[in-house]
């Protein structure tokens, strides 16, 4: 094996490009940067990545300050008695004085009202954003922690442990996600339906379903990376020095896996956002709190006469998923040493 650490590792072991010219000013600059800093620099120069990062940041701020935003516009997600706002014989659409599609936009309800229920669209949109992002974020955290732990253990320990973990991973990969979610959700709902915390249980149940069926790709990826890394000299030397296994895993292996983990997570987030919307569309997501998927499901019927009602949640999902995906791609490009120039 060559002494050069190779392009696919970052962290303590790499000693920088051996052919660096110490005389030139530029070379000095490069030599002084950590790989993460290089990646950030490249990310900052990627215009699409910057725009996407701002969009994502905006969504995160909307999600965090959903309550404040609703207060500013004086709207809320509280149920109102529908008949006072809706045209009873006009297909249950809002009366013209309360906004589209038959009237102009009003300041009381900037995004209009939902047909049939007279829910305020803006309030439901911002709280839908909160639901969407918090579910996706928590599911990503659970899935990636599980995946990384199992991947590291399987890859490093090998043998029987590896075989068992790989079998479990393959087993979970064979279970069709949608089918499992469609089966599990009603069972859990039925078990806890009488609990006063039913809405929270439903929320965490969804996170659990997403996480339980989302950790396998990252576990496989990490296991593969670990398999190739553990034969490397710096791991061997750590072993020879008598470093405990836990320390090797955390201090030697994990930092070298930062790049693949970041990339997987950044692509997992948008996948979970759309999975949440899909499940809500199918009627098994959260039903007790606002959700984009749920609104899309209700709005499909009204597309022809009240398209705005459908466009609002669609815009949310599409914009968020698209920006997260593009950002994830940019992060991968930035972290990929093979594209280093």
């Amino acid at each position: 094996m060559s002494a050069y650490a190779g392009p696919d590792t970052v962290g303590q072991s790499s000693e920088g490009p051996p052919s660096a010219d110490h005389e030139s000013e530029r070379a000095k600059e490069i030599a002084g940067k950590s790989p993460m800093r290089i990646a950030f620099g490249r990310l900052a120069r990627d215009k699409i990545a910057v725009v996407c990062a701002f969009v994502v940041l905006a969504f995160v701020l909307i999600a965090i300050f959903a309550g404040t935003i609703c207060n500013i516009f004086n709207v809320s997600t509280e149920t109102v008695l529908a008949s006072q706002y809706l045209d009873v014989l006009g297909g249950g659409l809002p009366k013209p004085e309360y906004g589209p599609p038959n009237g102009g936009f009003t300041i009381e309800h900037p995004f209009g009202l939902a047909p049939r229920t007279a829910n305020d669209n803006l309030a439901w949109w911002v709280f839908g954003c909160r639901t969407s992002l918090s579910i996706a974020l928590l599911a990503t955290i659970f899935a990636s922690v599980t995946g990384v732990v199992l991947g590291l253990t399987a890859g490093f320990l090998g043998g029987m442990v590896d075989r068992i973990i790989s079998f479990v991973t393959d087993l979970f990969l064979t279970i069709p996600f949608l089918l499992a979610a469609l089966t599990l959700a009603p069972i859990v709902s039925e078990r806890f339906r009488e609990s006063p915390n039913y809405p929270q249980i439903q929320f965490y149940n969804l996170i659990m379903v997403l996480a339980v069926f989302g950790w396998m790709p990252i576990a496989r990826l990490i296991r593969g990376e670990v398999l190739s890394l553990r034969e490397r000299e710096f791991i061997m030397s750590a072993r020879v020095l008598g470093m405990p296994t836990g320390r090797i895993l955390l201090r030697e292996l994990l930092p070298n896996l930062a790049a693949p983990i970041v990339v997987t997570i950044s692509l997992m987030l948008p996948a979970f956002v759309s999975a949440e919307a899909t499940l809500a569309f199918l009627g098994i997501g959260v039903t007790e709190s606002p959700s984009w998927g749920q609104t899309i499901n209700l709005a499909v019927d009204f597309f022809e006469i009240y398209p705005l009602y459908l466009y609002e949640p669609l815009l949310g999902v599409v914009l968020l998923v698209l920006s997260l995906n593009l950002l994830g791609d940019a992060v991968r490009d930035a972290l990929d040493p093979k594209t280093r120039r």
């Binding site: 529908a82 006009g90 009488e194 209700l298």
Partner: protein
């Protein structure tokens, strides 16, 4: 008859909506849209003299295929006539494939429905106290295989209807097992291990006559005879359930070409059907295709497009979101039909024992809001109800249980609650709702909002299953803890007998409020023994008495259906007897 859609609790009504919203509502429908108001259904009369064959419908032509879309309706699970109690199954099969003792026909001049003979030559002859009925079976009616229908086969069909274990969802469980001789004792030919029905003395055959013996006076046998369960079945093994339900022998103008439960039923002409033997059915179209569980929005778009396929299509429902467009663009081809149904809230009679609380519930239910949220068109598909008996039923009293028509009036609800001792604390209500349907969830939210403003505290439990499975199961743990349930009920024939006893008799399956008063039970028994001409009024009076004295069950809505007919479907119209399109008279115009 039970409505298949489990939206019972969320179904309310509001005619006042029409008046209240007339000004601000903004009826922006342009063109030929007609404003629809709820017209009470015509009374159904008897016409024993209608003779076969049925009079030709003016302008009717032969040939073509009629497609019937049934949005959101799963249809029957099997086609066994004995098991058919749903509005959908019974309306299709009784009209097209499976004949019975009597049937309904539309009077071409008045448009009203009439009870006319079918396999029997007349509407039956009762003895003086209605404990024996004799029907003479026609000798010229045939099965699809060409064989003549014998009185023995009709008797066998009647005997099958006694088997409530084999046919738990059949109408026989309510009527045969309640009124026929041996009710309660004879378990039926399959459950009672009596494959030839020798042990039952309920029906005797004498030549072409069959005589039915009753356990107690049953004056409505002629109406009950219009159920396909009161028709013939092939003797012995040939009609063994459950196989027979997938492969029935037809005797109407059409026979089954293919049937996939929940998807599709295809009927084709039965060339062995003898028009000379049938006073009401026709055989104009070559083929009927019934498509179950269709997507409502898709069907609405198909009907609106008026393309070649949709011109010969019938839809049994119109979406409220497209109602305005359909109403203005299709005009007369949108038919509103009273479905002889009432929706109820059913407060537990033992738990909510104070009549003031039950009245308060009626004032606290946000009728119109619940409706909008559940996708109904207030004033068109749902109107406010005042009595158990639906409009158009003979003898119905126009009474008001608390002085005037119930509307959403939280102040009045609070006053009544104060009388009941709940002036300063909310009255606790525990109920369930169907979480799988987003419209049911939205409607439940409206209900909670409205009721909480009126002084109630709602603990609502989401269920994943048809709420009827909880409400009608006395052993269900959750059900025991509920104090507010619901039920939708449609009359099986236009008599109070099919509304009051199934909903209010002690121990009846759909008595979900668990109402039980000995005096009322006795009165119901007494009415069935009264002279026929007095019964209708007696049922109406009993309805009023129960409503004003006990108020055990809160009528929230009378229900209407909207049918959409393609432009080439001739003779579009509804069947007021059953709440379905009038399949018997449809044809494809050229």
């Amino acid at each position: 008859m039970r409505r298949s859609k489990p939206l019972a609790v969320v179904a309310g009504a509001a005619l006042f909506a029409l008046a209240a919203c007339g000004g601000g509502g903004g009826t922006s429908s342009g063109g030929g849209g007609q404003s629809r108001e709820f017209g009470a259904a015509d009374e159904i009369t008897k016409n024993a003299d209608q003779a076969a064959p049925a009079a030709e419908i003016q302008g009717a032509t032969k040939g073509g295929t009629i497609t019937v879309e049934l949005p959101g309706d799963p249809g029957p699970t099997d086609l066994d006539p004995t098991n058919g109690w749903s509005v959908t199954g019974n309306s299709i099969q009784q009209a097209l494939t499976s004949r019975s003792l009597t049937q309904y026909a539309k009077n071409p001049d008045t448009g009203a429905m009439e009870l006319v003979p079918d396999l029997a030559t007349d509407l039956g002859t009762p003895n003086d106290d209605f404990t024996e009925w004799t029907f003479t079976i026609r000798d010229d009616a045939t099965w699809e295989n060409g064989e003549t229908i014998t009185p023995e086969e009709v008797a066998w069909g009647l005997c099958r209807s006694m088997d409530s274990t084999q046919f738990p969802s059949g109408p026989g469980t309510e009527y045969s097992q309640q009124y026929f001789f041996g009710a309660g004792d004879y378990k039926g030919p399959y459950t009672g291990k009596d494959p030839n029905c020798d042990k039952w003395g309920g029906v005797t055959v004498d030549g072409q006559d069959i005589t039915i013996k009753m356990a107690k006076p049953f004056p409505d046998m002629d109406w009950w005879g219009a159920f396909m369960a009161m028709g013939p079945s092939p003797l012995g093994k040939a009609s063994q359930p459950p196989d027979y339900g997938q492969n029935i022998l037809s005797n109407g103008p059409y026979k089954v070409e293919s049937f996939r439960s929940g998807e599709e039923l295809v009927l084709v002409k039965n060339d062995q059907w003898n028009p000379e033997s049938d006073p009401a059915r026709h055989q104009y179209a070559d083929k009927f295709i019934f498509k179950f569980n269709a997507d409502q929005n898709k069907v609405d778009q198909v009907m609106l497009s008026d393309n070649t396929a949709s011109q010969t299509t019938v839809s049994t429902q119109a979406g409220s979101n497209n109602y305005e467009r359909i109403n203005s663009e299709l005009g007369d081809r949108l038919v509103q039909q009273s479905s002889q149904c009432t929706s109820f809230l059913a407060p537990d009679y033992q738990d909510i024992s104070d009549i003031n609380v039950r009245r308060a519930l009626a004032w606290a239910y946000p009728y119109e809001d619940v409706w909008l949220a559940s996708g109904e068109v207030p004033g068109v598909t749902r109107v406010p109800a005042n009595s158990v008996m639906p409009p158009g039923m003979a003898g119905k009293h126009d009474y008001f249980a608390d002085g005037e028509q119930f509307t959403y009036n939280p102040d009045r609800a609070k006053e009544l609650l104060a009388k009941a001792g709940y002036a300063n604390k909310p009255y606790p209500i525990k109920m369930i709702y169907y979480e799988v349907d987003p419209l049911a969830v939205a409607a439940q939210k409206q209900l909670v909002k409205g009721m909480e403003e009126a002084g109630f505290e709602i603990n609502d439990i989401a269920v994943q299953d048809d709420p009827y499975n909880v409400w009608t199961n006395p052993d269900d743990k959750l059900n025991k803890t509920l104090n507010l349930r619901g039920v939708n009920w449609c009359s099986d024939w236009p008599s109070g007998l099919t509304m009051l006893p199934p909903l209010l008799r002690t121990g009846a399956t759909y008595n979900t409020e668990q109402f039980s008063e000995k005096s009322i039970d006795d009165e119901m028994d007494k009415i069935t023994g009264m002279p026929l001409e007095d019964q209708a009024d007696a049922w109406g009076a009993l309805d009023e008495k129960i409503g004003t004295e006990f108020f055990p069950i809160i009528p929230t809505a009378f229900r209407n259906d909207l049918f959409v007919f393609g432009s080439k479907v001739g003779n579009p119209g509804g069947d007021g007897a059953i709440g379905a399109p009038y399949y018997k008279g449809l044809y494809v115009s050229k």
